[in-house]
């Protein structure tokens, strides 16, 4: 007899019949009836009308029946809160049952009933169960605390359950420990600020001990929890790594990935000179490779993570290229991901093999895969210069196959190869032109047109080719139209005599007959350029272009670091930070890799250690995005004065001018702030003569600290803190502190470029604040800041800016501009920087 019969009763008056059966005296009949009810519930029928009758069956010795009734309760209690109260007594009684299975069942079910009234009654039984003698009950109770917290967080805190839960981390039973860790992590996730897990070397030691004994799932909870810890120095990091490494041999892929996460994160703290560092690198490769023998979904998760790991530490898998060769029966998502990793691992050493593989892939049947393979060949050419020629000839072979999508894809990548190695492979253009007619995808058409325009002087019939595209101008996509416009203008500038008519035609098509603003604007710009100064036009349009970089699709370094902290999770699969796909603020804590803090070699990198913010902590960004921010947002920051300022009093005025009208809105109420030219920053290099001057008067010693001697007056200087994380500022990271030296205040800034492009044109502006703090000189970054470069700047401040009371009083809102964007952050300054050293209080 099977359960399927319960699903088939569809007679009329069913509910009525069930009611009668539920109230039957016979135990067997009762149980059958409850099973029918559950079956109806499972297929979505509303059987809530039977609530009292089902609850009546709750008091039974039969465990199976009890489970079914509990199941029913979980489903319907919320819709019948008043009646659910009827069940409370039985729950409380069951929590005292001599059978631990029943005690656990009761406490597990109660936590799933999301009715406020019931949760009140839940507290006492839960408290007992948390201290139950049976570990099975304790581990269930630990999870119940997390459930209850989800319903009523305040209640859990008031009842002191969190402390009991913390105590369970020291429980003798590993499964209880694991569940306590899981519950605490879950709760901590919704309270990023609370120091709930309070990890310290002692508790870490307990967790590491439990790690060896608990179930595979428990190991995952513990490893994920360990990943949130920041060891105090490299020794502690190493000792944790040593104890986590054995997990790499676990059969469960999830355990392996969580262990990899801990190791990748803590490795950041180890010096590369350590022997252990090299050992660890070697140990990581085999487990990662073995993950590729798991089920396809797990393979995919592993590959997405390997993709991150390869970008972060390419040395781990650099010799393992072959394992990423696709198998014929790999699912397509695995194939595509493997391909991506192959390109990342491609180097001069293995390029021949990779190319041979890619060429095979390009003849497969799956269109998406073939396209990506062709693109990969192009990427190899750009990445490994020595292979470029071979890649181009491979691509030409592929074009000869005349398979439509292969040809189009090949042309798109050849365009990129031209952009990387100009004037090297134009001999292939003739072959490309032969395939002109078969191109029907916009991207391929645009690429072809670009090539024709770029090399117009070497293609005899360039004008005919372009003219042929022009016929259907309005049916083309925007991408193609723009490309066509540019290409024809290029052609005209190269061969002005023959193509005047053509250029007229395209300009009028673009400016008069098109609705697309981009196209019109570009058309007008070219038109005016050509009509006012053709020589200038030539210089502009035919200017030498920068080469494209080797790696075009790398993940931005700060994002990559964050994603490394999320190995194994959805974020690592999406390659997006959790904030991008988790709705609401819950559970979104910005994570970052730990800074390197060495125990023995504290002198090694003084600027690194204190600058990093503690990971897992929300960084101090402007708290309320209110009206104040509005003011700042309207600011139109201009470029900074380049070069050292010339005349003393004009500097600030100059800065004001450059910073534009936005300043008026910021300082509008108190114009005296602008008028008085007070302090001026002489270029740092001119002041070293004043270094020794103690407490002097006059302007120059105000700024003597800019020359870098920091210990003159012994005033306390807080270590630099990260004010603006790179995540929030398109790769610009700012950390800083405030100092006061011999009567002058300054803001010591450290700007780090974590983006992939050069940053220039820095400027800074403060919002009105409680003490009128304002920059006394423009922010001077003399040279462009290239990627991964850090520059230290001391910005002199004065207190003559506009005053407005801030909350808290020492809050300062700052806008920083560079060539990329304007960024905002706020920080608190220590009040002592405002105090004068002689103890007399100034008027202002």
């Amino acid at each position: 007899m099977t359960d399927s019969k319960y699903f088939t009763t569809t007679k009329k008056g069913e509910i009525f019949e069930l009611k009668a059966e539920l109230n039957s005296d016979k135990k067997e009949k009762k149980k059958e009836a409850v099973k029918k009810v559950i079956a109806s519930m499972t297929v979505g029928k509303d059987v809530s009308a039977l609530f009292p009758d089902v609850v009546n069956c709750m008091q039974t010795d039969n465990l199976e029946l009890k489970k079914l009734v509990y199941l029913y309760l979980m489903n319907y209690a919320k819709s019948q809160p008043d009646m659910a109260i009827m069940a409370v007594n039985t729950f409380v009684k069951d929590c005292e049952d001599p059978n631990p299975l029943i005690r656990a069942l009761a406490v597990r079910t109660m936590g799933c009933i999301r009715v406020d009234k019931i949760t009140e009654y839940l507290c006492e039984p839960l408290r007992k169960c948390l201290k139950d003698e049976d570990p099975y009950v304790r581990k269930t109770a630990a999870v119940c605390v997390a459930k209850l917290h989800d319903i009523n967080a305040q209640l859990v805190e008031d009842q002191g359950f969190l402390d009991t839960l913390k105590d369970l981390i020291s429980d003798s039973n590993p499964m209880v420990v694991a569940n306590a860790v899981a519950a605490l992590s879950e709760i901590a996730e919704s309270h990023p600020s609370s120091n709930l897990l309070d990890l310290n070397p002692q508790s870490i030691n307990k967790l590491l001990t439990a790690l060896n004994e608990c179930t595979e799932w428990g190991q995952i909870f513990i490893l994920d929890c360990l990943a949130n810890y920041t060891p105090k120095d490299d020794r502690e990091a190493q000792s944790i790594c040593e104890r986590v490494t054995p997990r790499l041999s676990h059969a469960n892929s999830a355990v392996v990935l969580s262990a990899v996460k801990v190791l990748m994160k803590f490795m950041e703290m180890l010096s590369k000179d350590l022997d252990y560092y090299g050992t660890l690198l070697k140990k990581l490769a085999p487990p990662l490779v073995t993950l590729l023998s798991a089920e396809p979904e797990l393979q995919y998760v592993a590959l997405r993570n390997i993709n991150l790991i390869v970008q972060k530490r390419p040395e781990i898998l650099k010799h393992e290229m072959k394992v990423f060769f696709v198998k014929y029966n790999d699912p397509i998502y695995v194939k595509l991901e493997k391909l991506d990793i192959m390109i990342r691992l491609a180097s001069q050493a293995n390029i021949a093999q990779v190319l041979a593989e890619l060429k095979e892939y390009a003849t497969e049947v799956d269109v998406d895969f073939v396209r990506k393979a062709v693109r990969a060949i192009g990427r190899c050419a750009i990445k490994v210069e020595q292979s470029a020629e071979r890649c181009v000839s491979t691509l030409l072979d592929l074009i000869q196959t005349k398979v439509n999508y292969v040809v189009q894809e090949a042309i798109v990548v050849i365009k990129d190869i031209f952009r990387k190695y100009p004037n090297k492979y134009e001999s292939v253009i003739a072959t490309l032109c032969e395939n002109l007619d078969s191109l029907d995808e916009p991207e391929a058409r645009a690429a072809m047109i670009w090539i024709v325009g770029e090399y117009a002087e070497r293609i005899d019939n360039a004008d005919e080719l372009l003219e042929s595209f022009l016929e259907g101008f309005h049916d083309e996509s925007t991408q193609v139209q723009l490309q066509l416009l540019t290409a024809i203008v290029k052609l005209f500038l190269k061969k002005p005599t023959e193509t005047q008519e053509l250029v007229q035609q395209v300009l009028s098509l673009a400016t008069q007959d098109s609705d697309n603003p981009d196209l019109r604007d570009r058309g007008y710009i070219y038109w005016r350029l050509l009509s006012t100064d053709p020589v200038a036009a030539k210089e502009v349009v035919l200017a030498e272009k920068p080469l494209i970089s080797e790696e075009t699709d790398l993940i931005e370094p700060t994002l990559l670091d964050e994603l490394i902290c999320y190995i194994g999770t959805l974020a690592s699969v999406y390659h997006k930070p959790p904030s991008a796909f988790v709705e609401g603020g819950r559970g979104v804590v910005h994570k970052s890799l730990p800074p390197r803090t060495a125990s023995s070699e504290s002198t090694e990198s003084p600027e690194m250690a204190p600058a990093g913010a503690p990971p897992g902590e929300q960084l101090d960004v402007i708290p309320t995005q209110g009206d104040l921010l509005g003011d700042l947002l309207n600011l139109d920051l201009g470029p900074p004065v380049s070069g050292p300022p010339l005349a003393t009093s004009s500097v600030q005025m100059g800065a004001v001018d450059l910073l534009g009208g936005g300043l008026d809105s910021l300082m509008g109420d108190e114009p005296e702030g602008i008028g008085a030219p007070n302090f001026v920053a002489p270029p740092a290099a001119t002041v070293p003569a004043n270094l020794g001057a103690p407490m002097g008067s006059g302007l120059s010693d105000l700024f003597d600290l800019t020359s870098g001697v920091g210990t003159l007056s012994g005033s306390y200087v807080a270590p630099k803190a990260v004010w603006l994380p790179a995540m929030k500022a398109k790769g610009l990271e700012i950390s800083g502190t405030f100092t006061r030296q011999v009567g002058s205040i300054s803001m010591d800034l450290q700007l780090t470029n974590k983006a992939l492009q050069v940053m220039t044109d820095f400027a800074i502006q403060f919002n009105r604040n409680s003490f009128g703090l304002a920059p006394a000189a423009p922010l001077q970054v003399h040279a462009p800041l290239s990627p991964n470069q850090t520059v230290e700047i001391s910005l002199p401040l004065n207190t003559v800016g506009s005053v407005m009371k801030m909350e808290p009083l020492n809050n300062l809102q700052v806008a920083v501009k560079n060539n990329i964007d304007v960024f905002y952050f706020s920080t608190l300054y220590p009040l002592h920087i405002l105090f004068v050293e002689d103890g007399k209080m100034g008027e202002s």
């Binding site: 099977t2 010795d61 059978n99 997390a146 459930k147 179930t215 676990h250 969580s258 085999p286 959805l570």
Partner: protein
Amino acid sequence: MSTIEHFMPLLMQREEEGALTLLLSHGGVHFLWIKYSNLYLVATTLKNVNASLVYSFLYKTVEIFSEYFKELEEESIQDNSVIIYELLDELMDFSFPQTTDSKILQEYITQQGNKLEVGKSRVLPTVTSAVSWCSEGARYKKNEVFIDVIELVNLLVNANGSVLLSEIVGTIKPKVFLSGMPELQLGLNDHVLFEITGQSKNKPVELEDVKFHQCAWLSRFNND
């Protein structure tokens, strides 16, 4: 309309568009799914969950259901709905996987629907003990061990016939009938084979990576 009801339409739609991905999402809910014969096993989440844990768990569920019902298909799910509820209850609590060893589960969730009497029933100590894969106090008349070795050979050859990649993924599956809970050591010896085939002993077989079942002492293996 409950969340899961969005899943099938979404899946169909994506399949039709040819844009089926492993991760589907709808209104902030992410679906992580696997397909087993004609069944979809779906996990839903709102958060940034540990995806590898979810997929491992889904596969584990398939494994356990298959051991319980022999064949896991639509019919067996209908036939065993009550047991499935019971099993899910033990397998996972508040999205934390719990006991997933089918041997242990079978000792207290039995096919026929157990009728435990008050007082007599107890939680098996194995459920929460460090040894969660076999129960204590096992006694066998005849102590014996059967070992299955299953090897999977992967070979990748290019069009010219040269071997690009060759690997053996082997599994050793012991079936143990030993009384008590003895600790066993497993050693692999390649000398015998080499002597038979007359190959030189200088080049031993190298295992690039080994993975162990939960029951192995990983840290001890690592140290030796």
